[in-house]
Symmetry: C2
Subunit: 344 residues, 2 copies
DNA sequence: GTGAAAGCGCTAACAA
DNA sequence: TTGTTAGCGCTTTCAC
């Protein structure tokens, strides 16, 4: 049996009629902002809305107001399991402000971001937060900038998280510094022979982390030959494979720095699978929650994800400036079991 | 310095004017559906849209059409790190169909779901997917049903995932069966003394899994005394604490069944922290990806998350029926290292 | 194949 | 404090 009986949704006019007031008054009563409504009328409107099961038509509201409330997050390259500390952080931050939150997930291709931004633009949200890594040689940057400029010209407010170097307000992390600090920490622990498992050749995030790490070692008079810096996809599986490749070469490695925790997990798992876990130390970057119970616990650069999201949202309510603002959030190294102190 | 210069977004009328056609034609050209547009005109419209940086005003479109395209997922009780296999599955499934996807995250309180559904309703999405656990004694169910009925009456299409027993199309998992199968599997491995770490007293999911497990044991003539079925919050930390409580009593437990993987992780971690990990076996439920690299690897009931999401989306395009459809998706036990065969 | 015009549900002057 | 009246930007008949 197949049903059909489809009415239409109750409209503001219906509520108004039932309450015996005009649409304008009903609107005022429902939206609360404009407080010039007699208490009795307000009550009747609310009552009417309730009995009709009325919900605002946000689309119509957005059309009338020219923009819709809330923040829309465009996240590029969401991982398979959807876990993403920035997304989580932004969601929480919007909840704290009781702002409507909407997620647009962009794919992993370069052009996906531009497309997603334009989709987001179509919704005319009052603020847009963009996140996700970027390649240094990304050819779609001009298109992205254009789309975001249009958006700002239309009166929208953008904040980028981690997409450093674009002419919009930005919150970034001190990737280079984090890498540097990790190098220092590992040297302090007594390590001398390193390898780096990195991702996506031109990815700026991983590039900066790697560079910082190498610089940190250099300052301690340690050199990492180029063949010990492996580059592949930016995920666990690739890291797993790269670790195999590295060790097969039988190089003398004491510690492996993976440019993010997901990759560190791949390294750790490979080592465990091959029984090498006690021989080689591993460090990551991000300090994601999902790895909190891993054995051995992972030495990593802790990033204050919630704070990053908070800063970004705080920025959205500030007026735009020329040049745009940039806030750099620092992480700090947390030494755990995966990098025990070396005793020679 | 503070900028201001705010233009307004390009409208369809602007595009039409620049292309030298009417708004109607521009609309037809842009939306492609109605193919009665001369090729030359279509090209000019597209061109004009591009030079103006035009993006459809989806809100206006939704108002005009009465409904907006795409699926909106209402997810209750998203975990802190945002990882949620159903969300991930639904996202993927919508992407495969290139449908716009929007997420509304509801809190963990009972009433949060109703509120979130009404928020979702306000967007007038063509389809709504609801997910998240439910308590057996949930007092907001009538309100939820009412909200969803309204939504359907307005012409929307709802599918519930895992919220069994409500008068709407539903995809559920065979929780009871999974628990039963796990019991059988563990008995087959040689275990005889069990405990269950369960969550939220009236949560239907965990209740069914627990009941199934107990029934499975009963069929093997094994009884679990009530004091070995611990109930607390439905998360890792609670499970960690409960395990401590259980073992402190010094009961003779060979295997612990946690009603989901997150809790199993808590159990596992507690055992590891106290050095008991080799003494007690652990099994979970869900087979979430995040735990793929845990040591020891976790015996669990594998759930086909992507398939569940697929089924749900497939349902949304079917006409409604009376009574509503229910699809039950089964999982299967995967035995891994956390439950080695018992040798006596 | 194309345009004019009506209307989608709401908000925001403006008047009363 | 309330109602009237224009829109908001788009789609969609209905003529041409």
């Amino acid at each position: 049996m197949t049903d059909s009986a489809t009415t239409r949704a109750a409209r503001l006019a219906d509520v108004a009629r039932l309450a015996g007031v005009s649409a304008a008054t009903a609107s005022r009563a429902l939206n609360g902002n404009d407080r010039g409504v007699r208490e009795a009328n307000r009550a009747r409107v609310l009552e009417a809305a309730k009995t009709l099961g009325y919900t605002t038509n946000l689309a119509a509201q957005a059309v009338a107001r020219g923009r819709s409330r809330g923040v829309m997050l465009v996240a590029k390259g969401m991982p398979d399991d959807f876990a993403n500390p920035i997304t989580a952080g932004v969601l929480k931050a919007t909840q704290r402000r009781s702002l409507p939150f909407t997620l647009v997930s962009a794919g992993t291709e370069q052009s996906d971001l531009v497309e997603a931004v334009n989709l987001a633009r179509s919704h005319r949200p009052e603020t847009l937060v963009i996140t996700g890594g970027r390649a240094a040689d990304d050819t779609t940057i001009p298109a992205l900038i254009e789309a975001l400029r249009h958006y700002e010209d239309e009166g929208g407010r953008v904040v980028l998280i981690s997409q450093e170097g674009l002419p919009f307000d930005t919150v970034t992390y001190a990737n280079r510094q984090g890498g540097y600090d990790m190098a220092t920490a590992l040297v302090d622990l007594g390590y001398r022979e390193f390898a780096v498992i990195s991702g996506m050749k031109h990815g700026m995030t991983q590039r900066d982390r790697t560079e910082g790490f190498v610089a940190g070692l250099a300052d301690a008079d340690i050199e990492v030959s180029a063949d010990r810096i492996l580059v592949g996809e930016f995920n666990r599986d690739a890291a797993y494979a790269m670790t195999g490749e590295l060790l097969r070469r039988n190089v003398n490695v004491e510690a492996i720095f993976a440019v993010n925790d997901a990759m560190a997990l791949g390294v750790l798992t490979f080592l465990r699978d091959t029984g090498d876990s006690r021989r080689v130390a591993v460090a990551g970057f991000d300090d994601i929650k999902a790895l909190r119970d891993i054995t051995p616990s992972l030495t990593t650069v802790h990033m204050p994800w919630e704070q990053i999201a908070e800063e970004a949202l705080a920025m959205t309510v500030l007026p735009r400036t020329t040049p745009p603002r940039t806030t750099v959030v620092k992480g700090h190294v947390i030494v755990r079991e995966s990098t025990p102190r070396v005793t020679r």
